[in-house]
């Protein structure tokens, strides 16, 4: 087993991996940028190495600095977390060349699955369903018309080079095809420098369902069931759960999607932890989308329902141990749900809200887990992802898990910066969410329809008397420029001016 492992990441995922290393009695090495000297992962690791200025391109993404940190401290392996260098085949290769074990799949698997088109071809070879569409870019409207007729409308035009919705157009009838193709292509040209587009079947009200796989380096691969991640904003997941409500309604789906995922992973000669993302329609048809060749943010919900520690297995497998769990040993128990607590303001288009955390109290109690990366007094830097913590719960049924989540969200106290916790309070009280009728546009619709009714008069009175008490302690003063500040702040200002 490794004696020392470097964690090439920051925030909650670095803390998650360091916690696991501590439980395995493996020394941990953190890396940090100028913005992160006081970060939680630096405090929790056994060692910490500075790797550069705040911008990640100058620190967490600098392959040579990370490898140098590993060499300096004598780390034998590197856990990349997610994001940053985790899906960078060049980094995985550089680790191998430096004689440092990369905790993840082979760099060849990362490279192959990193190309959407290569991954799609591989899935077709593995006899897994993919979204029907043209395998490659289409040259002219005539070719598009033929393909559209074959796939069936509605279809989606997508940029070959792209992502994030740029160069994407929904086309409902053949009549609209040529004009939409012109628009999509020129948008793609501007955004990515290439106007190439392709056609894909449009899945109506799609659900995002993914399969966790785990395999050792001798080719023994198992799947740990699905997670549904249909609650998204800006194409980013905010709530994930296992089992998927779709699987609860159609239990045979788990095995069907799981086996398709395993076929793909085997074809890719995949080892370590990985996730195969699928789109499913409301009738249970599913299509392979892409593979994430790393630990997933939402891995805790799978850990809750299977009882398996994914990070521990990642490390064991990278150290050459055999995966001793067989597929038949896996059972799924109860329901796990996670929500991502972001420093952002849902009332202001989810705009990030970094800054100093004045008060911070995590919920706990039965069935509650928090994977956090912050602490009271910490200033969330403006340079990185706004994820503060992942709150996850388990209960013996989905309705009980939702109630538990509502309870836990109400206990989570973050002061000083704005978070999306209040929005979670609303979602977990929502009937449509409880009914499990999810799709990837759920949250957009929710933001439109949510109704914040009248405030309970007593709650209003509580707000008023508390505000009065607060202001009587710190009475405000009107300043010369017409703005207002509290008296104590004015006093402090005067003291500073002496």
């Amino acid at each position: 087993m490794f004696r020392k492992v470097l964690v090439a990441n920051r925030g909650e995922i670095a803390v998650r991996v360091i916690r696991c290393l501590r439980e395995m009695n493996i020394a941990s090495v953190a890396v940090y940028s100028d913005a992160d000297r006081g970060a939680l992962h630096v405090q929790m690791a056994d060692e910490a190495v500075w790797v550069g200025p705040a911008p990640s391109i100058e620190s967490y993404l600098r392959i040579e600095c990370i490898l140098e940190a590993a060499r300096t401290t004598g780390a034998e392996a590197i856990h990349p977390g997610y994001g940053f260098l985790s899906e960078n085949a060049g980094f995985a290769k550089a680790c191998a060349e430096a004689g440092i074990k990369f905790i993840g799949p082979s760099w060849e698997a990362i490279e192959e699955m990193g190309s959407k088109t290569a991954a799609r071809r591989l899935a077709i070879r593995a006899n897994a369903p993919v979204v029907p569409g043209t395998e490659r870019g289409i040259a002219d409207p005539e070719e598009a018309r033929k393909a559209g007729a074959q796939i069936g409308y509605p279809v989606l035009l997508k940029a070959s080079a792209g992502g994030g919705g740029k160069g994407m157009r929904r086309v409902d009838t053949e009549a609209d095809l040529a004009a939409s193709m012109r628009d999509a292509s020129s948008e793609a040209e501007r955004a990515f420098g290439s106007g190439e587009v392709y056609l894909e079947k449009l899945i109506e009200r799609p659900r995002h369902i993914e399969i966790q796989v785990l395999g050792d380096e001798d080719g023994h691969l198992i799947h740990l069931g699905e997670r549904e991640c249909s609650i998204q904003r800006r194409h980013q997941k905010v709530i994930e759960e296992s089992p998927s409500p779709l699987v609860l309604a159609r239990p045979e789906l788990r095995q069907q999607i799981g086996e398709a995922a395993l076929r793909i992973a085997r074809e890719a000669k995949y080892s370590n932890a990985g996730t195969l993302e699928f789109l499913a329609d409301q009738h249970g048809s599913f299509y392979f989308l892409e593979m994430n060749t790393r630990l997933q943010v939402e891995h805790p919900v799978t850990e809750w329902v299977t009882g398996i520690d994914l990070v521990r297995w990642q490390i064991l497998i990278a150290a050459g141990e055999k995966l001793t769990i067989q597929q038949k040993d896996i059972s799924w128990n109860g329901s796990g749900i996670e929500c991502r607590v972001y420093a952002e303001d849902p009332e202001n288009n989810f705009f990030p809200s970094p800054g100093r955390i004045v008060q911070y109290v995590e919920p706990s109690g039965p069935g509650v887990r928090v994977d956090g990366g912050v602490y009271p007094g910490w200033t969330v830097p403006i340079d990185y992802d706004p994820l503060l913590a992942k709150l996850s719960v388990w209960a013996d049924s989905r309705p009980a898990a939702i109630e538990r989540m509502r309870r836990a969200v109400s206990e989570f106290r973050v002061l000083g910066i704005t978070t999306n916790l209040a929005l979670f309070g609303e979602i977990f009280a929502d009937e449509a969410f409880a009914a499990g009728n999810l799709d990837t546009a759920f949250l957009d619709r929710f933001m439109q329809r949510r109704f914040t009714g009248a405030v309970d008069p007593q709650q209003l009175a509580a707000i008023i008397v508390a505000a009065a008490k607060s202001e009587s302690q710190n009475p405000q003063k009107v300043l010369e420029n017409g703005s207002v500040e509290s008296a104590w702040r004015a006093v402090r200002r005067r003291e500073l001016m002496r």
Partner: protein, 167 residues
Amino acid sequence: MKLRVTVDGEEYALELRPEANGSQYRLEGATSLAGSTSIFEVMPGVFSVLLGTRSFTVRIASNGSELEVWSGSRRHWVSVADTRDRSGAERKPSGAGPVQVRAQMPGKVMRVLVELGASVQAGQGLVIVEAMKMQNEMKSPKDGVVRRINVKEGGTVGAGETLIVVE
């Protein structure tokens, strides 16, 4: 103690009378209520409020000239004024005079879209601020002239900091 408290634009008159084990309160406005209350600051900015037997937790952060108040899962904007001093209430921001355009969140100034002395229209973009890979365009609140630019491209700004003054 008599105070005028404004919550999300609604004004209330509050009277608080201390007693042995708390206070008596009387609230008049869109909602009128009275009864006994006990207010306990459990940590700075966090208040445990009992109204009769009902228990509420109220979190208060000062945000510029108003209080940002959370209770349950809702945010409210609250201001408090002594009834003897009505000066604060009259100073509502109006269309006339200089208006400060402030950063809503901390971030990095990516672009300054206007120059000093330029004429701008309401809704016109003034500055683009980036935080955590997201960009936010700060817009002019009114038609006017750019009187002051406090920021430069590449610099960082804090929440509530004045970026530009439009008059």
